[in-house]
């Protein structure tokens, strides 16, 4: 302790040190000032204009550039954009639904598989662990493209696989499901706010493949830190397997799983590469999420003003999501300590 106080007095004595942290911060803030903060401010300014391709050269100095106030924002929310099949609240709802349903499937599956792998005396544990981790190491762009081909109507592995299965059941015709192009929703009532096309289910399948192994990894780590005595005590008290699962396993892995679930949620919410490579938001924007639509606005529609406004909206959506998830993390942290 004596050392600490002496160090503290050294801190105060050294006046040069006061400026030091700012020197250390300087490079990062110089760089971020130019390529992050300035563009962010520029983005807000552009969002109040009708910036289009014709303004690209002179930009803000362009004589044709008009400041139109909150028109872009109003157009986005009320559906006044010159874009087909886009309704802001439908896409927002779908985006949330997409992220929530993914996490709701990945986390339980990941935990159950981790518990299964943690069974004492199970043969070939290590081999399974090594196999189960494989989807985590494949880049999402590759996963997206490969699964896109798997769901190909004519040559895809999924229809060929289903053809084999239906062959066993006596069917003769090959299966031709238009996974990624069929627009009619198979279960119309599931999300009343918009069509959940077959493409959504195809993406759920592909993203399930991608998503659960990460949850299994996290859950395995948490499971291995649970003392075995707890299970022995529980079984001496006569707790059945499922009782042990709900009363010992679940409460003890919860502190690890909730941050993982939140991480999974934000990841799925902004899962640009996977969605863009698999369906690019189609068919008819039914699997569009906010980030893919924002990209479409800049890259293909070239409505820069609208795209800027949309990005500002995305920022606030992300902020709200962050504040909510942060609160959940905090709440569960104190739960874990209690």
């Amino acid at each position: 302790m004596a050392v600490k106080t002496r160090v503290a007095s050294l801190h105060k004595a050294n006046l040069k040190r006061a400026a030091l942290p700012y020197y250390y911060l300087l490079p990062a803030f110089l760089v971020m000032g130019v390529i992050t903060f300035y563009p962010l401010i520029y983005q807000v300014i552009i969002s109040f204009t009708d910036f289009q391709t014709k303004d690209l050269f002179k930009q803000l100095a362009s004589p044709e550039l008009k400041f139109i106030g909150f028109q872009n924002y109003a157009d986005i929310v009320t559906g006044g954009l010159p874009v087909q099949n886009f309704e802001f609240f439908r896409v927002l709802t779908y985006n949330i639904w997409w992220a929530v349903t993914n996490v709701m499937v990945h986390v339980p599956a990941g935990v159950l598989i981790a518990v299964l792998l943690n069974t004492q005396g199970l043969w070939m544990k290590r081999i399974y662990r090594a196999i189960y981790v494989l989807p985590v190491v494949v880049p999402p762009i590759v996963v997206g493209t490969v699964w896109k081909n798997i769901f190909d109507e004519q040559y895809g592995a999924m229809n060929q696989f289903l053809t084999i299965i239906s062959g066993w059941l006596g069917a003769v015709d090959p299966v031709h499901i238009r996974w990624l192009n069929e627009y009619t929703p198979p279960i119309p009532w599931l999300l009343p706010n918009g069509p959940l096309t077959l493409a959504y289910y195809a993406m759920m399948i592909a993203n399930f493949w991608l998503g659960w192994p990460f949850m299994t990894m996290v859950a395995t780590g948490a499971l291995q830190s649970i003392p075995k005595d707890l299970y022995e005590a529980a079984s001496i008290d006569g707790a059945s397997g499922s009782q042990q699962f709900w009363n010992v396993t679940v409460p003890l892995i919860r502190p690890a799983m909730i941050p993982a679930a939140i991480y999974g949620f934000t990841l799925s919410f902004n899962l640009f590469n996977f969605v863009y490579f698999m369906t690019a938001g189609g068919p008819a924007r039914s699997t569009e999420i906010l980030v893919t639509f924002a990209y479409d606005l800049v890259r293909n529609l070239r409505l820069y003003g609208v795209a800027a406004a949309f990005s500002v909206i995305i920022f606030f959506v992300a902020l709200i999501v962050f504040l909510i998830t942060n609160r959940i993390t905090r709440a569960t942290e104190s739960y874990a300590e209690a």
Partner: protein
Amino acid sequence: MATKSNNPIIRFLNINTSGEAGGRDLPLWRQLLLQLLTLFIAAEVMFPIMYIITLSFSSKSTRPSSLELFPKEFSLVAYQQVLDRPTANPVTFLELLRNSFLLSFGVGALALLVAVTAAYAFSRFKFKMRQVLMILVFVPLLMPAVGLSTPLYLLLNSFRVADCGGGVIAISPFMSCAQGLGRVYFNLRDSLWGVGIAMIAGALPFAVWNLKGYLDTIPKELEEAAMIDGADANQIFWRIVMPLAVPQLAVTFFLGFIGHWQEFVMPWLFLSQPKDYTLAMTLYNMTGQYANAIPWNRFAAMAIIVAAPVAVIYIALQKQIISGLTSGGVKG
């Protein structure tokens, strides 16, 4: 009792990670039931992997007419074709590889270089505005990369060098041709430099966050001891903190590298010339509307080539990556 067999094969297969002695044995029927389940899951995992591997080793350039999950032949024709001429564009595989590598490596290294001192400042110093500055650095983390793409596109697009004719060269945005745009020599937006700059915007806050989290865990006592021995702040940073941070610097770099390797948003938006294309862009070109000309065995080979470096790095650093992500999540 079955698991305590003397059969060496069964003993080999029963690899027990927990190392408990005389624990509860699994009854055989349960063992078999669980094996069925685990095998089923393994099949689910392997299904697309085997599918794509089989396709890539096929010499047939036609599309697959029936499901094959095990290679019947080991032909490297598809790989060879991809390496020779990856797309219909006049661009070689080596150029694509070089572009991808330059972007991943350059962005990762530069972001790290700029981030490390900032992370140290946030981790170790108490100063005015610390909270505000930290929020400023971390707020962009909330923004998905797509969200910054519009202004970066517009701003980078205004840096160009044009030949106005008559030997006059204009450098925008400082000068412009008297009439029209002139013939554009160089457009920062349409170059790997521009893409790299745009990617650093996303990489930097992440690098600061990831390094700060690690520096927080290095005990301060070492630095305090050095200070008492008369080391100044810069010496402490270079001689004590940096060597200790090397493992995390490596992890942050490689995490960035595998992220940038798959970067698609900025290159696909910015770049228009095939010679600047990256592997990720080429893979995208092999699906969708452009894909009709490309046989699936070549597509499969390309997918495996793109995935390989990421998979290797991930497997090598698995533990660090998982612990970094989870502990970071808990700390918030």
